[in-house]
């Protein structure tokens, strides 16, 4: 059943709305583009607070490689603005997702081997706490150890600590050349050999019967990487400037799990994952598509736990799963510090935070 929605236009609106919600004990789900809401334990809420009207670019100086934006700006809009100046915020998330949503979900790029995780790109954060305080942490420089790292605390916090209203992002030059190499065969074995042979690849994605190697950089560099890949297999399809990845066999499943585990154990999981999977080799990410969130999901999670990883659902039902996070008392006190009345999607986080 749809819940009522709030549409703040300013940070002051967000403060007033959350202050009032705290006063009344109204449970609030902070949302952006509704693209990452399945990541998190499903919990009942009384109202959704949409950040999508907070969509201004506050400051962008390309030579500083820093962009300050309001959290409700769409990823696609930001990409267009940055792209005009030859830069990108490397997350590779859906164009209609919001920047705040991507950060709150901790959704990183499949190119993370080369571009890093989203947590490394958030320099400053402004957040409205559950009781309506505006709190800033971090700073608008590419390097900063001034005080505790609130940007990292908020990244991946799933909306349980506050409404992210503004962020400063570290952006980077767009690669001058981009190329995807596609090879067919025993994907896990072939992928392993390509990962070893191709220096500094942005991604090596194995899926049933297919390996895609993502290359980016200077044109001559990409040529050299391609030549290295050809020494592993001569049967390579070369796709220039294509989206990555080109195939996602897990994508259309009713339930999609994004498992994260030590990189060397990813193949063991993928090998037992059926026909709807993709493994980012060297990075330790395995997506698995499942028909439903029942027995197959708990079986998969048990296997991931044996391998030392986690397996949250990122699309469909199923929530975050085990294990409970460490130092639950510390996590609860952090929650209480930012959301003293416990109105922000209580239970949505790991361990029921």
């Amino acid at each position: 059943m749809a819940v009522p929605t709030l549409h703040p236009h300013t940070k002051a609106d967000v403060r007033a709305m959350l202050r009032e919600a705290s006063g009344r004990g109204t449970r609030v789900l902070v949302t952006g583009g509704h693209r990452h809401l399945d990541k998190g334990n499903p919990v009942p809420v009384d109202v959704e607070l949409w950040t999508t009207q907070l969509d201004r670019i506050v400051a962008y100086e390309p030579a500083d490689m820093v962009a300050v934006v309001e959290a409700g700006i769409r990823v696609g809009h930001l990409a267009a603005v940055l792209g005009e100046r030859g830069q990108e915020w490397p997350v590779d998330q859906p164009a209609d997702a919001t920047v705040g949503g991507v950060i709150a979900a901790g959704a990183s790029s499949p190119r993370r081997l080369r571009v890093g995780a989203v947590r490394d790109s958030v320099l400053e954060v402004e957040v409205v706490t559950g009781d309506g305080r505006l709190v800033k942490g971090g700073g608008r420089t590419v390097k900063n150890v001034t005080g505790y790292d609130l940007p990292r605390l908020l990244t991946g916090s799933l909306g349980t600590l506050g409404a992210i209203v503004q962020v400063a992002l570290k952006v980077r030059p767009l690669p001058r050349a981009r190329r995807t190499l596609v090879a067919r065969g025993d994907a896990l074995d072939l992928g392993r050999r390509l990962l070893e042979a191709v220096p500094l690849a942005a991604a090596v994605l194995a899926s049933p019967g297919t390996v895609e190697v993502r290359l980016e950089g200077w044109p001559a560099e990409v040529e050299a990487q391609t030549a290295a890949a050809r020494r592993v297999t001569s049967e390579l399809l070369v796709l220039e400037e294509a989206d990555f990845p080109t195939v996602r066999p897990w994508q259309d499943a009713p339930v999609v799990v994004e498992a994260a585990l030590p990189p060397s154990r990813a193949p063991a999981l993928a090998a037992a994952a059926g026909e709807a999977w993709g493994a980012l080799l060297g990075a330790g990410i395995v997506w698995v598509g499942l028909p439903s969130a029942d027995g197959a999901l708990s079986g998969l999670r048990a296997r991931v736990a044996e391998l030392g990883g986690i397996a949250p659902v990122v699309r469909g039902p199923g929530g975050l799963g085990e294990p409970p996070p460490p130092a639950m008392d510390v996590q609860r006190r952090l929650k209480a510090a930012f959301d003293p009345r416990g109105i922000l999607a209580p239970g949505r986080g790991w361990g029921g935070l």
Partner: protein, 498 residues
Amino acid sequence: MAEAAPRTEGRGADVEGARRALAAALGPDGVLADPLALRIYARDASMVEGGCALVAFPRSVEDVQACVRIAAGHGLPIVPRGSGTGLAGGATPIGDALVVATARMHRILEVRPEDRLAWVEPGVLNLDLATALRPTGFTYAPDPSSQQSCSIGGNVNTNAGGPHCLAYGVTSNHVLAVDVVLPDGRLERFGSEGPEWPGLDLRGIVVGSEGTLGIVARICVRLTPLPPATRTMLFDFPTVEACAQTVTDVIAAGVVPAAIEMMDHGIVVAAEAFAHAGYPTDAAAILIVEVDGLPEAVEAQGRAVEAAARRNGTRHVRVAADEAERALIWKGRKNAFGAVARIAPHYHLHDCVVPRTKLVEVLSGVYRIARRHDLVVTNVFHAGDGNLHPLLSFDRRVPGTLERVLRASEEIVRLCVEAGGVLSGEHGIGLEKRDFMPLVFSAEDLAAQDCLRGAFDPDRRMNPHKVLPAGARCGDFAMARGRSVEEALARMPEGSWI
């Protein structure tokens, strides 16, 4: 105030009981109580000196837990300490503190190239780790200039940087997990050997927390592939402005070198006299630029950087011919702070970061401030990050000099903040900069940070007085803003002096 006897705090601390318990737990050589020996641990590499009651030298995680429990049981605050190379007073103890020095925990526990990670103890030295990893084809990327002597545990606590953070990112980007002994003595693992972890990013909070949340007892670091090729270049410029403009032009051209370091005339002269690196001592400023990656990328980036330098009037282009020459060029840069002892016996420095595009403006302001206070200032810094290191050289034995230095350094900090900068890029806040925090954060921001601290350490036992100014209290949103130097000095915690 300079030589006033330190007053202790935390009355009721049972120091003798703690000493006996530590000696029983760690062995007699595991605890230090001799007043003369304790003086060595009364400060780090900053200007602030304090004092402590005891120093403990754990050899294992269990020892660390014992230290924390004994300190708690006997009412002693705890100050974690790595190599003591910190520049902000973060490891300077105050009052009846127990200093927990991790220098004897210096084993590399596990190297797993297949998982691109290694587990290390906190006392492992930064350069020792990089050297040990080299045969595997990987490295640990953060490389603070003090890497020969600073420890990974210290690096984690200050979220240390270094020249190569421009392309590779700071310490936090390279720490996958930490095993932390919390203030109640419990051991918890934050983060994961994999790329994601359950719960809030507590590892992200612990990194850079300056020992205020717990003691980092084991660290899982990310391994970075060694670049197949590297090119180190040195340029010299007739003006500081031309040098700084080159930095901006390089970035604007879409090139992110592995490192861009700038040194002004004063520091070039001092470093050259020490390192004999062949630096041009008649230049107004020099730039060291390193690019790395595949040979093809190195070639393309090298050309772009050289073009930017030539456009801005570099007089020479020197490219390191081999590893020996590369090491020599870096030797002068990494030992620059030591080399300034040739200018005057003492130095004081800040590590503010400003937006790259404000470098020229801020640098000329720094020179102006130094001139006004009749001080010698030299600049050597991570120009690509906008991370300044203005170094004020002085002789504190000359009456009135220290006051001038502190006044000038406050003006420098304010100048950087007004340019949109932050207080510290890599050294941390510690004691020296904590009273500047209200320049960049509101009372509500600081109160939230204190709440965060309290979530880990409700009794505020870990490294008290550090990072947050005295007035920042969780739940208390009314505090004074921007204090004068006199007030700041007067507000230094009891038991510490500059």
